[in-house]
Symmetry: C2
Amino acid sequence: MDAGLINPFIQSTVNVLSTMAQTSPTVGQAAIKKGHKTWGCVTGIIGMAGKEVTGNLVVSFDEGSILGIVSKMLMEEFKEINKDVVDAVGEITNMISGGTKKLLSEKGFSFDMATPVILVGKDIEMTQLSKSPVLCVPFKTDRGQFVLEANLAKRA
Amino acid sequence: MDAGLINPFIQSTVNVLSTMAQTSPTVGQAAIKKGHKTWGCVTGIIGMAGKEVTGNLVVSFDEGSILGIVSKMLMEEFKEINKDVVDAVGEITNMISGGTKKLLSEKGFSFDMATPVILVGKDIEMTQLSKSPVLCVPFKTDRGQFVLEANLAKRA
């Protein structure tokens, strides 16, 4: 997608984590995604669909980052990726997408969000059927890392 | 989702396969999905998002069924799940969703489609963050089987 569109995704990610999980992640450099594997060990995916644009938002967490985030979010210490953590990844994906939707609507991009899908497992082979490149942004928390992947493009 | 909504998904699946791949699948009995694993070895997912409804359509193929379908679709014999087959799964998912969108719009359900995501691999742990059950329908072709999973629900 157009690199100029990535900032609302980043801003929304930072907003959601600071509001919901008292976590201020460090934001790394955006780059075009290479290869076709999921980045972390638990991955949220949500479709974005409007009359003129289409895409997906993907957030993939390593174990340390997501256990830290969900433990703060639910005010209970989680030590493994169980059903509550999986559901929380879906909620986080939904909230990041919702915040991005609001920010992008101010730039004239209008879309609705599909239902979040959560994958558990490392190195899952995942491809998006899009001619537009997927942008990825790494984030660091005090307990680990996660990667945001965004692809939003005009319909062919 | 409401069981009454499944027929447009089934009808669209049969239409797409007969038109694009000269394949007339046998349709099995719809049921509520149990568990959280992908059914086949290659799986297309597409988000559906409207003002009032949200969901995902998932189509998961075993190796025999998808190699048979794509070989007919692209008029070339495919013997393994390579990039062309993965892209074709994305296209098929897109077309089934597009046909369903048209049929459901006649019933007053309006949504746009996100960008297809394709997963390669067996037994991938996959959950949808939805309070609405996922309906699944098995199909049989002359070379294998596949399963359609549909979840379309009113927004909470």
